[in-house]
């Protein structure tokens, strides 16, 4: 047993998160680390909702996958700044260390890894975030043998956590950027097949367009379609 199963499935309540660190790895990405009051343990793959409240009580809320391992004292979120993004724009341009946000989570009991089942992840763009949480959890537990990750981005600037993923042994594929001896292009069947071998659960996370490309790639690499769990996000800002 890993202890991960000891999650209490009680309902999540709104609480507050204080921004402890804020980094902008690229102009379009912001990485927030929050101290969350009365935080519940999360599993890798789960997400949090962030809600912003205006003085007239108008609110806007969006969901963000958690990048941090459940034992990290802070909750790490990666936010992609979208054009006209009401929430992402605020978090990227206005929010500062010390600001207090309304947060709620963890949410999602489907797209999560139990840290015991051999798994493969095919993730794209900011969809890498849940795979980062999975890799960090696997590393803490000494079970990196259970998890294979393929991460896809247009170029290094479009792939959050690219260096960390590469260090953790993930296949990093850039579709428009030659990297070392790997020419630009999506993951090839010969690259994916060894990652998929023996996987009992498969996670796909990214934009709807990415999901539409990734699903047949994984099935072509030998993954049973019934084991695929998908998390896709729209440009909801």
């Amino acid at each position: 047993m890993t202890g991960i199963e000891a999650v209490t499935p009680r309902a999540t309540e709104w609480t507050t998160g204080t921004i402890i660190t804020k980094e902008q790895p690229t102009p379009d990405q912001v990485r927030l680390r929050l101290h969350v009051e009365d935080r519940q343990r999360h599993d890798p793959g789960q997400h949090y909702v962030v809600r912003l409240r205006a003085p007239d009580d108008y609110t806007a809320q969006r969901s963000y996958s958690v990048a941090s391992d459940g034992e990290d004292p802070l909750l790490e979120l990666l936010v992609e700044r979208l054009p006209d993004g009401e929430v992402s724009g605020h978090l990227a341009d206005v929010a500062e260390v010390g600001d207090v946000l309304e947060v709620r989570g963890p949410i999602g009991r489907w797209f999560r890894w139990d840290a015991r089942t051999p798994a493969v992840c095919l993730v794209g763009g900011t969809g890498v975030v849940p795979a980062v949480a999975m890799l960090r959890t696997a590393r803490r537990l000494g079970r990196t043998d259970l998890l294979r990750v393929a991460a896809v981005g247009r170029s290094p600037e479009h792939l959050p956590y690219a260096a960390e993923l590469a260090r953790a042994g993930a296949l990093v594929a850039y579709t428009r950027h030659d990297a070392g001896d790997r020419p630009a292009g999506p993951p090839r069947p010969d690259e994916l097949a060894p990652l998929a071998e023996g996987a009992e659960v498969a996670f796909i996370c990214g934009s709807p367009r990415f999901v539409a490309l990734a699903t047949p790639l994984l099935i072509g690499a030998g993954v049973d379609p019934t084991t695929i769990r998908v998390e896709q996000f729209g440009a909801t800002g």
Partner: protein
């Protein structure tokens, strides 16, 4: 709850009184959100069944369903991921007509909708009767696309859209409420957008 420093309303609310709390108008786009690989289901292979606590378990083929009196919904839809979409038109059959044929037993109080993918979602029977729910195959004059649940999906527009099961294949009538896929995975059992019933534990 605290006001967020520096945050002010940036989007207008769309038509007055039509945007539930915490939602925004997605405009012309129609986001796709799915937990599974989308199935490729030919209309010729599609069926819709009504069974469970009914007097006359019934199944309709594509052609048989199209031969029923048609019914249209024009109005808004609301997704729990916070987008709403106004003034959509869906065409299909009313769930009332399917239930009239299958004749629910008096003890039937809930429905578990099943999709051909194995997806399920639960609904009180009262939420799919009285002109509130449809099985639809056409949206804004065009066939429902595969990623939006084509060839046919459930439509329960007064609840969050995960209740409108894509690729619907079966309505099972039950005496007791039985949670479906997202409900077991943390989402609300009813999902009224106007009460913001998003997650388990919301009032």
């Amino acid at each position: 709850m605290p006001v967020t420093r520096g945050f002010f309303r940036k989007r207008d609310e769309g038509p007055a009184g039509r945007l539930p709390p915490g939602q925004y108008d997605t405009g012309s786009s129609w986001p796709v959100l799915t937990a599974e690989a989308a199935p490729d289901l030919a209309p010729a292979d599609w069926r819709i069944s009504v069974d469970g606590l009914v007097e006359a378990p019934s199944t309709w083929t594509w052609d048989e369903a199209h031969a029923l009196p048609g019914s249209t919904y024009t109005g808004d839809i609301h997704c729990v991921t916070t987008w709403s979409k106004f003034d959509m038109t869906f065409r299909g059959v009313s769930v009332d007509d399917l239930l009239t044929a299958a004749r629910p037993r008096p003890e039937a109080r809930f429905v578990l909708a099943h999709s051909s993918t194995g997806y399920t979602t639960n609904l009180p029977l009262d939420d799919v009767t009285g002109g509130k729910a449809w099985v639809v195959w056409e949206v804004d004059g065009k066939p429902l696309s595969r990623e939006h649940g084509g060839p046919a999906r459930l439509l329960v527009p007064h609840l969050y859209f995960w209740k409108s099961a894509k690729w619907v294949s079966r309505l099972e009538l039950l005496a007791e409420d039985q949670q479906g896929f997202w409900e077991r995975n943390g989402y609300h059992d009813r999902g009224d957008p106007w009460r913001e019933q998003r997650y388990q534990g919301d009032a």
